[in-house]
Each structure stands twice: as C-alpha cells, then as structure tokens.
Symmetry: C2
Subunit: 422 residues, 2 copies
Amino acid sequence: MRPAPAVPARNTKTAVAVSADPVLQPGPIPGVPGVRLAGVRAGIRYPDRLDLVAVELAAGSETCAVFTQNAFCAAPVEIARRHLGAASPRYLLINAGNANAGTGGAGREAALACCRALARQRGVSPEQVLPFSTGVIGEALPVDSIGKALPQLLSRLDAEAWPDAARGILTTDTEAKSAWAELDVNGNSVRIAGFAKGAGMIHPDMATMLAFVFTDAKLSRGQVDALLREQVEHSFNRITVDGDTSTNDACVFCATGAGPTPVESDSVNWNRLREALGQVFRHLAQAIIRDAEGAGKFITVRVSEGGSSRECLQVAYAVAESPLVKTACFASDPNWGRILAAVGRAGVENLDPGGLRILLGSVPVVAHGELHENYSEEAGLAAMAGTDIEIEIRLGRGDCEETVWTSDLSHEYVRINADYRT
Amino acid sequence: MRPAPAVPARNTKTAVAVSADPVLQPGPIPGVPGVRLAGVRAGIRYPDRLDLVAVELAAGSETCAVFTQNAFCAAPVEIARRHLGAASPRYLLINAGNANAGTGGAGREAALACCRALARQRGVSPEQVLPFSTGVIGEALPVDSIGKALPQLLSRLDAEAWPDAARGILTTDTEAKSAWAELDVNGNSVRIAGFAKGAGMIHPDMATMLAFVFTDAKLSRGQVDALLREQVEHSFNRITVDGDTSTNDACVFCATGAGPTPVESDSVNWNRLREALGQVFRHLAQAIIRDAEGAGKFITVRVSEGGSSRECLQVAYAVAESPLVKTACFASDPNWGRILAAVGRAGVENLDPGGLRILLGSVPVVAHGELHENYSEEAGLAAMAGTDIEIEIRLGRGDCEETVWTSDLSHEYVRINADYRT
C-alpha cells in the first residue's frame, strides 16, 4: 500500500507550503515553459464572463487524461477520448456555460466543429485539439459564438494568462482554483502548475469537475500516464460531496518537456516529482471541497488499521457520504452514533466492534464499539466547532490507511440545488 | 424474476383497497386471533407518552424475524437473535425512547433483565421473550422504569389494543402506521395485521425501523420464514431515504395458527396469501417513506427492461439515493439531466445510451439518451407538481423490473437532522 497522503494545507484556498519538503508555492502561477494560455468572453451563456479558454502545448508535449466513468458521457468527452487515441494534443479548448451533454450526434458534431475551426487557424490537425465543456446539460453548444471568439482567443495566447484560464472554466464556483509547485532537479528548476473547477462533484448537470495540470519536466507518455493515474486516485478520486459523478468530468496532465533534464522512473527525483505533483493535485481537489456548494465545513475522514486499502475506502466513503454524518457536521454535533452506524453498514466482512476506535480530532470517542470511558461531550463539541473536522476511524484489523475529504450537508446545499434551474 | 409489486395506495396513510383483488382494509385493526397486545407509559424518555409495548402470541405460533445487517447491532438485536434460535417466542417486548445501542455488555444484560422480568411474571422462559428497542443511542436502558411498568402492561393485554401498540413504538414519527387485510381461504377468513415505526431509515441513532406483522393463518416455521424474507425484500428493502441503515432495524412476522385451515405452499391460496401480505408489507413500508423526516414528496423509481433484477436495483438506488435528484424533486423540477447522470454512474456494464428511455409520470423525457423530441418543459413540470412523483427508467436490455420508493431532500430534512441532538 502506498503511504497515506501528507496532511495538506487547510485554512486558505491559496496555496501555501505544507510539508517537510515544501514545494507548493504561494502567489500567482509564474508559468510553465511550453504552455501558453488565453481566456476570453464568448457569451456562451452569460455576457461579460470569461467562458472560453485555450491552452497551447509545445510540440513534443506528452499529454494524458482521465475521464468520467459515467455511461452517459458528454459529446466533448467522447471526442477528446478519440482524439487522444489518434494524435498528440497541441491544444485544449475549454468552454464553460454549456456542457454539450445529452445532445447526441449533433453534440458530437458541434464539438468536432470547434476542434476543426481551431485546428484550421493554427495549422494542426483536428485530432490535435481536445475539447472540454462544462455548464448546463441538454442544450445545443453555441458553435457560432465559439467560432466568432476563436481568433481573439488564439491571438491572446501567452505564457502568463493562468488567472484568465483558471477563471474562464468556472461555473458555480465562487472562486478560481489553482496551485503551483517548483522543485529542484539536479540543479534545474522543474515547474508544476494547474487549475481546476468544480463546486463539489455535486452538479452532474453542471459538468462538475475539470482539472488541468502541466509540468515542464521531460517525461515519456508512459510516465505521464502513470503519474496522472496515481495522482488522481489520491486526490480527485478521494473527494466526495454526494457521490454523484458528472457526465463531463475530466483531468488532464501534460508534460511539455520544455524544461531541463529527464526524470527517471523510480529515482529519487521521480519520488520528489511525485510528492510535488501530489501536493498540487491534492490542493486542487481540496479546493473543490472547500468551495462545495453550501459547504461550511471541510471534513477529513481518515480510516486506518484496515486489512486492505479497499475496506478502508469502503468505510471512509460510507461515513463521508452519509447525509446523517454530514448534517451532524453542519450542526457541529459530535454525533458519534451516526458515525458508528455508518461504519457498521459499510460492508466490511467480519468487522469486530471490539477492535474499533473513533476519534474526533484528537479526542477518543469510541473504543471497543462503545463510548470511550473518558469521553466528555464538551471535548467532542470542541472537536466539531471549527471549520475543519477530522474524523478518524481505526479498524484494528491491519496497517492499511486511506483518507477521503468531504463537505457538510447544509441548508445552503438544499437551497442551491433546489433553486438551480427554477 | 418475480413480478413487480402492484401499484399501491398512495394518497393517504390509512389503508385503502388497492388491487383488482382488494384485501387491504380501511379502518382500525379488528384483531388477529392468537394475538393480544398492550401499550403503556413507562416514562422511558418522555413522561406521558406510550413507550412500552407487549405482544402476546398464542402457544403454537410460528415466528420469524429479520434484523439489521449493520455490524454494530444493538443489544436487543443480539438478544432477540439468540432467543429466536433457542425457543418459540411467546412475547415481544418493545420500548421506544432508548435504543440500548452502543451500550456493550451492560446493554445486553439490561435487555436480558427485561426479558427475565416479563418471563417470570408470565411463567415462560426468558428465551421465549424477544426484546426490541428504539430511541437514542449510547444511553443506559432504564431497566427499573421498564420493570415497574411491566405488571400494568401485562395486565392490559387484550385483542384490540392495536392502536396503543402502533403508537407506543413511535419515536420521531408524526403518526402511527398500521395496515390490515382479510382474505377468504376455502370459506374461512384469514386475517393479516401489522404496525411499523420509522421516519424514513434516516435515523440510525434513532433505531429507525421496526415492523411487526401477524396472521392467524396456519403456517409452518419454514413457510413463515420464506414469506417474511420474500415480503421484506419487496417492501422494507425497497425504501430508502439516504442509504443509512440503523443499528436496531427489525421486522417480525408471526403466524399464530389460531385461524382455520392450513395453507399449502405453492397453492392458489398460498399465492393469494402472498399477495395480501404484500399489500400489508408495502403499505407499511410506504407509510414510512410518506412520514420520512422533512419529506414533501413520495417518489416511485421504477426501472424496467433490465437484463437482471440486480442491475434494475443498482439503477433504482443510484437514482433514489442521489441528493441531486432528491433536491430536484423537492423543487418540483423536471431535471432529467440529474436522473440521466445518476443512471449513468450506477455501474451497469455496457449500458447503451441509445436504448435508454426516461419517463416522468406518463411524460416521455429521454429517448436514445437524448431529450425526447416531443418533450415540453410544461409537461415535465406538470409531472413533478404533485405530492407523488413517478420516475420510470427503461433500460432496453431485457424484461426485468424493480421498484424502489424514496422521499425528497428538503430544507426540513436538514433542519431536523442538524437540530436533533442540539
């Protein structure tokens, strides 16, 4: 089993240094050699809002992506998958305001038309363009508006437009989410930078989550793919608001190779790159939870002493997705009975109540399946009072560990999701 | 595959006739030969509230029960399971206000002490008494209060105290839930009657759901067990509010044999008995959903044309448990994109979007994975406007079908569950 992720920065959405070997950097992204970006107002759904973003990747870049597992994936997901299999991407074209989902053959044609228009203007093949869409479902993509905005968009490509790009992909997010890191590899700097959108995986019809991470490290396609899958598994695949996954989720990782030396797999530098990537990915994933619709709490559910990684995750998700646990967190209520009940229904075979311990922050609450003898309601209330709540569940069955992050279930969640289309 | 359940009564919580061969009866339960009941105020948590119930079963009764699958089952569940394995039950002893859960060895001893006290007063063995508790978790069962109330409780046992029994097991329920049916078997009447408590499986720490169903039919223990498992599967195991299961759930089915002729398995009468039982079980299960905390909508999710019963249920639960679908129902919003996204993430292998159809009530909304060409938002809004919402999903893969019932996710749900302990 891989070690559990390091405890990340929690109190702000701006990136801050977090580990013994800090690489996550504060302040705006200074750029990643080999990447140029732009964002413009195309009027896709709202006027005067950045809603169309292009990212240009240097020739020779290696790019991989993971997409939603939803059986009803949106048209751009189908096209992006197909293009990734056919060519090395040179451009990402991302629009907000319209998900181009539930739109059938016409939707695929619309996504393709946008790729073709960009390709023609930049002298690449349409297969070298990956389309991404996020926004309302079931409405025709306004291809004309996108086409009209393309010349301006492409003319603005530059190395520093990260804030425009990060803002241009947002939908219901209340703020842009970006992070960057820098590490020294044999005396040369390697940059990692990324941005993401998502208000908590709670809007399948808003095409929920998109994330784009770039590095100038020289990596093979196989390395890029391995790193992407590893990182997603421990960041975006460890956050949940309500268990819903969208039709448009995607995460892209690109190594431009514009930087200095190659990084050999399984070397010391490889592990440092993994750690730095982990910090960027986790920061972006956690920023989504912190910005989750209606969220007032950032909840870490850590399950340790498991017999397997799988059973740790079963328990972590049962707790993190329990509406009863989430409403208790909203109320800052140390309602250990709800946590116990969620653990008990997680489906772990032969779970021994006698071996179970539950802590809220550092407060032991349950031992041997019963209330801890030294537990006081005051201590429990104190552990639930802050914005950040830590629920730790020790299964007493082994040495595996997994961590999942989630938000609380608030009045505001219901208000936003009940009002959204009306 | 078993046929899908008949469409049940929807508009009131009082039992009304529902099928072509109506057996569900209106009005108060007139009694079931072989069953005597009583309910008293024992002051377990609140004064002046019926909170202690006894049910006496005639000698020769055959009784079976199913219990929560939660790994952390409450003390009374452990004791009831053990007693059921050791003897034929003559008494059920049910208290509300205290779940006797998370109470360890002392909790088991408390449950046993109550069984022993009742057994002594009625001249039966303690193993012939099954204990059930529902209420707050983690607090010591007030054995003294129960012991003091027992003589009065047992002195009141009679054939007609069904309303007291149905009321005495409630916790956060807003009303008692009972149903009865009568059918003619070879010229003799057979009665079925039951009562249940539960405010929607949404209170694991409130010991959520208890149901007790009785008949005077002459049935073997094997028949009782088979009927119970079949009926629970298509009633209480088909309702969900938030996926949480409690530490105390139990459903008991008892055939006193005090009635007339035996019913042979797989005979015409057997099938009529099954149908009548189905109406009683479904009525009780649906009454729980209608009384679910904060619920304003009663939602039927029917999945048909499935390749297997299992995949129909996967899809039905993905939709019925989606907070996004549930908030849309609360808002009476025909948000088909959320339903589509939930279907898509249900994990059905090789699901073909082209074969999928979704209807709201009788309004076709999605065909071939896209918005139906004749769909109008007005028709969709009309289908969502009432208290009862029907979501039908046709998978286009086979002829299996399953139905699940759920409630909406409302502000009131959050208020109740956030305020409950504070």
